[in-house]
Symmetry: C2
Subunit: 173 residues, 2 copies
């Protein structure tokens, strides 16, 4: 019940549980996240277990454990948990994000544009297709749809950028 610091990871978990609207195991969260949040903010599955534990200790989740078999743990948002989630998402941030793209880092420090571009064009294309496919399904809340649209737009920008490098392969120095 101690009031520990919440990280972005914490809010991903709180948000997923809120969206689920019901009890869920960390594994449930992982499955739904993999086709939604993880598209633009991924978290290793092991962290979902420890984070649920942490949040439960802080009183933001309740924990129920199966008696038999796997003894799986089911978590649910408490009122306090929902409150923290709402406070967080209603408070706008002015921190602007960073690209933090490993390939751009290599490019920045002198990596060969053409070789990098070859890998990046196909990577971003398949990512875009993935997003478009997931986007087809209906019934998502508006925020999720908007986030996906921005993600797709970002992919298109990346594709254009790296494709252009590929074309100018006679480029100078």
């Amino acid at each position: 019940m101690s009031s520990l610091r919440l990280t972005d990871t914490s809010f991903v978990v709180l948000g997923l549980l809120d969206a689920a609207g019901a009890e869920a195991t960390p594994y449930d969260l992982k499955r739904v996240a993999q086709v939604s949040v993880f598209n633009f903010w991924s978290i290793p599955h092991t962290q979902l277990y420890t984070e649920c534990e942490r949040l439960a200790e802080a009183g933001l989740l309740t924990e129920r454990r199966e008696e038999s078999g796997r003894r799986r743990r089911f978590y649910r948002l408490t009122a306090a948990g929902r409150k923290r989630l709402e406070e967080w998402r209603d408070e706008p941030t002015d921190v602007s994000c960073e690209l933090r793209d490993p390939s751009v880092l290599k490019l920045f420090f002198g990596g060969d544009p053409v070789r990098l571009a070859e890998a990046q064009v196909s990577a971003h294309k398949s990512k875009l297709e993935e997003l478009e496919a997931a986007h087809g399904a209906a019934g998502f809340p508006r925020g999720m749809i908007l986030a996906a649209e921005l993600g797709m737009e970002a992919e298109r920008v990346a594709i254009r950028f790296w494709s252009r490098l590929l074309e100018e392969r006679r480029g100078d120095g």
Copy 2:
């Protein structure tokens, strides 16, 4: 001299030292980084100190310490360090990056689009101006220029995205 695992942070340090082409203190690295790499991949300044130490232990940097006064530490790339850097940057990655934008996360989980957009539009606009200003200076290697151009393009996309949300403020649900 033990062969520890190198992280992206390691390569930022190696890359900065390579670009410097001379001995530098962690503080030197910080100053040059703040107007270049940190625009799209930032690292807390304290980490530059510990990372230089780590890399020196691994034999990728040499360390020279001032005798008098501040007893500052100066680092320089070794041949092994340069080799690791080159290997890294010449090997293309297929990992595509993630947005990892805290505001998009809030949007995704139901944050109010208009309130978020208000803060984001101005944040991204000032970031774009900053990038454009830094971009004016000449004499940078091509990779750095390209990285900056992608960064500016990404900012423009973000500005368009959030601005559109602002305009449609009568928007549905």
